[in-house]
Amino acid sequence: MKPVWWLLIGLVIFLIRFQTSLQATENLDRYTDKPISINGKISSQINLQGSNQSFNVGRVRVRTNLYPAYEYGDRLVISGTLQRQVINPWYSRFSLIYPGIKRVTAGNNIFIGFKNKLAVWYTRVLPEPEAGLLAGIVLGSKRGLPQDFWQALQKTGTLHIVVASGYNVTVVMGAVVFLFAGILPRLWAMVLAMIAVGAYSIMAGLEPAIVRAAIMGTLAYFGQALGKPRDGVRLLAAAAGAMLLINPLFLFDVGFQLSVMATLGILLVCPRLPRLPQGVGESLAAQLFVWPILLYNFGRMSLFGILVNSLIAPLVPYVMILGFLPWLAYVPLHLIVVIINRFG
């Protein structure tokens, strides 16, 4: 079949899925401004902000006090008044602010459990904001980031370093292949690498950026095994397309938009750049392409963001690699903190 037909079929399925999700929004909208009670599992990472925590239960965003602490996978009964915030004609955010919450059962996901153990270890060994930054870079966990530091990251356009993404996938795959390449047949090592990436993606909360990177990484490895040349743009289109078919609302997720555009920038611009220090070229290319999205969503895009990104880009890989030796990671972490606080 010609690619055009694949594209058309994909588009039709997408439109059907999109229509269904609009219908779901309308169904939910019947309860807007009315008291409701929902019973469901926490389906996102927990975000800590000041004296609040927030998380998703299905389509509903819940904001509540810092304690008691909730966890991914907890089953809750939540009652409050449903609020709707219209983002655009096709997309609305539904939220429950300080509702009554009862925990029915506690979540019990081994990957999340492992991630939390690692994050607790970091916080025992390192002070803030270095501990939170380490958990962010290695695990994509934004939970422990101090609020002031979060704002500094946002101001300097460097928030992406605490989003698990393509680089994390490369390191996870590379580490597994490196460890098992001599022991296991190549194919088995690759299957193991894929399992590791899957586990890692769950640890990182299955956010759009990590899902995109995991799909692309997996496809690229298989492509290589089958002896097909890598075409990054096609891989990106496949990953983004698959994600949109599964959840059309990703289209309005800023994280998804940023991830796709940054990757596109790296794929298109990087090969045309002169040789630059590690990470700097990628950083420049990505910045160029996410610029319109940042401008639209946050109303600003600082020019010195490019400078700050170029300064910290060479440090991030060291932090990632030293994720299992947090004492040593302190030095690059502290440098990143100093740079970001200086400009933020």
């Binding site: 000041g50 008691p68 607790v120 916080t123 025992r124 002070p127 803030e128 002031d148």
Partner: protein, 263 residues
């Protein structure tokens, strides 16, 4: 190496009123010993510890919860989880809240020793001396007691050489009057203004007695109108210089035991 040298502890006293929003967190540092009084309403106290402790120091010699309200204990939960707390001092007057339960859980999990000190007790940390002026007697440990927990706040007179400062928790004018009439209140250089500058605290009689040169208000965005015009006015009456953590960020005071200055 450079980082270690930069963060090496000094033999002067460092007194930090942490900027943590609407709540209290006060850090006392002398050499490698630290005392933390209250933890604020969120986790920002962790940044304060990160800013003022050397990065390798994961031990707090003494942590004090002035009283069991969320704007004083919430940050202590993560502090207990992350740091080796040698001793924990709290009034045995409980609060039936999620924060209080989480704090107890963390304390039990980490096997931290908890003690209750009252009027007349004292603690030494190197040359730093803490003397308890309040509460009068041990708490009854009643969940959800009718009396406001603020009235059970630990009031601590601290001194380092000739430099004295007073930590007041959230006491109100009634407790202040008891302290004034007890005759135990000396004049101090620095006063932590009670209850974030509430108008029901910091009475003129109390301020006249302690006669602070510097009054520090630990306060953030709030709906109570803290710090109130009334309290600010009374502080001006006693000619105290005023520093607010919401305006100045961390308020840091350095003393060698004779002199002191705001950094």
């Amino acid at each position: 190496m450079l980082l270690a040298w930069q963060q090496w502890p000094k033999s002067q006293l460092k007194l930090v009123f942490c900027s943590v929003g609407q709540g209290d967190a006060t850090l006392i540092i002398w050499k490698d010993q630290q005392i933390l009084v209250d933890g604020g309403p969120n986790n920002r106290v962790l940044d304060c510890l990160g800013r003022h402790l050397p990065f390798w120091d994961r031990e707090l010699e003494l942590v004090i919860a002035s009283h069991a309200e969320a704007d004083h204990i919430t940050g202590l939960i993560e502090v207990v989880r992350r740091y080796e707390v040698k001793r924990f001092l709290a009034v045995n007057e409980a609060n039936d809240t999620a924060e209080y339960r989480a704090l107890l859980e963390a304390i039990n999990q980490r096997g931290v020793k908890v003690k209750e000190l009252v009027q007349g007790d004292a603690v030494l940390a190197g040359p730093v001396k803490l003397t308890w002026l309040w509460p009068e007697k041990p708490g009854r440990g009643v969940l959800g007691a009718k009396t406001s927990l603020n009235r059970f706040s630990q009031v601590i007179l601290a001194s380092f050489g000739e430099f004295d400062w007073l930590l007041t928790g959230d006491i109100d004018t009634k407790i202040e009057w008891q302290l004034v009439t007890s005759g135990t209140l000396p004049e101090v250089e620095v006063l932590k203004v009670a209850h974030h500058g509430s108008k029901y605290s910091s009475s003129q009689e109390f301020l006249d007695t302690v006669s602070p040169e510097l009054a520090v208000i630990e306060v953030g965005k709030n709906s109570f109108g803290h710090p109130t015009e009334e309290t600010l006015g009374r502080l001006e009456q006693v000619k105290a210089q005023i520093k607010r953590t919401d305006e100045a960020g961390d308020v840091v005071i350095i003393s060698d035991g004779d002199h002191w200055r705001v950094e």
